[in-house]
């Protein structure tokens, strides 16, 4: 099948993170694409929208990590996502 025109819809190709961008360079078409978006983990964590619901996945993980830091895990029941 041949398209008459180039694809009009926006296409986002998400590529898994690997050491030294090995996987990104291995698929040779990807470095040829003019539009590249690099997401820095440190920035995106600052802007992530964490819901206020106690059963939210991010809340559950944060809750767990906080209690792990404080050493309360053996004493408290942590809210799970269920």
């Amino acid at each position: 099948m041949v398209f008459k025109d180039k694809v009009a819809n926006p296409i986002y190709i998400e590529i898994s993170n690997t050491f030294n961008e090995y996987f990104y360079n291995e698929i040779s078409v990807l470095p040829m694409m003019p539009k590249n978006k690099i997401i820095f983990a440190a920035d995106s964590i600052q802007t992530i929208d964490i819901g206020t619901d106690i059963k939210d996945k991010v809340q559950v993980v944060c809750n767990y990590l906080e209690n792990l830091d404080k050493g309360y895990l053996d004493e408290l029941d942590i809210h799970g996502n269920n």
Binding site: V7, Y12, I13, S16, I27, S28, I45
Partner: protein, 252 residues
């Protein structure tokens, strides 16, 4: 004059800048050539560079071919021979064919060139020591070029910039950097009617992916397509081929 200016000038005059430019000037009127690269990583970059140098245009889907059977080779060669515009045609990855098919290809190409063809044929290999490479090295019709691993990385990037491809590659500096989340945030409900996500895993089905992309009817401009490529081991080359066809040649 700053060092960066000197480097830029050297790079712009260097033959290493653009393989297509180098080939088109080196060959002159003798335009039948085989091009061999030691790695498969840059096949599509070289292909684009060669096509831009000879024709100043993107290759179309019927000019580039990844042959797997005898009938495909024959149909491609005849299409190439009887094309009224003498366009450049390329076959790549020919060394992955069986010995029998490679012999057939050598035989057919030599026979066609005895009829003093004017069309331009390029063939691209990954392996300079392959059987077909040695066969063509004895041919007087074909100019064999090899060892271009020192070439510049992206000679054609300025051309692709002007193509207005609506494709964005999203990568991150670390795992868990919210790439998917960022892409989902690009969904504008006023413009996009639908959000489509294709996960590509190690067990992905090529035919299924083709079928799904075909069904999408991607010309409406009202869908946001999200391809997630996880770390895969087995299908690098096929995925590379599908993405090249889909994004640059515009076909499936």
């Amino acid at each position: 004059m700053g060092i960066s200016t000197i480097i830029q000038r050297l790079a712009s005059n260097s033959r290493m800048k653009d393989i297509g430019f180098y080939i088109s000037t080196a060959l002159g009127s003798n335009k039948h050539f085989i091009f061999s690269t030691p790695t498969s990583l840059r096949i599509y970059q070289y292909l684009l560079s060669i096509h831009f140098s000879f024709e100043d245009a993107l290759p179309s889907s019927n000019q580039t071919f990844y042959c797997t059977t005898f009938h495909e080779i024959i149909s491609f060669l005849y299409r190439f021979v009887y094309c009224p515009f003498n366009r450049l045609s390329s076959i790549f990855k020919v060394e992955s064919l069986s010995f029998k098919l490679q012999s057939h290809l050598v035989d057919r190409v030599n026979r066609l060139y005895k009829k003093s063809l004017k069309a331009v044929l390029s063939m691209i290999f990954c392996d300079a020591n392959s059987f077909i490479s040695s066969q063509f090295s004895e041919s007087s019709y074909i100019y064999l070029m090899r060892d271009f691993d020192i070439l510049d990385n992206l000679p054609h990037s300025h051309i692709l910039n002007n193509l207005e491809l609506n494709v964005t590659v999203v990568k991150s500096d670390d795992t868990g950097a919210c790439k998917s989340y960022w892409i989902e945030k690009q969904l504008n409900t006023k413009i996009h009617e639908e959000y489509v996500n294709f996960p590509i895993l190690d067990c992905f089905n090529i035919a299924k992916l083709n079928e799904e992309l075909y069904k999408l009817n991607l010309h409406g401009g009202n869908k946001l397509v999200h391809l997630t490529i996880y770390v895969i081991i087995d299908y690098y080359e096929m995925l590379d081929y599908i993405l090249f066809n889909f994004m640059i040649l515009g076909c499936l």
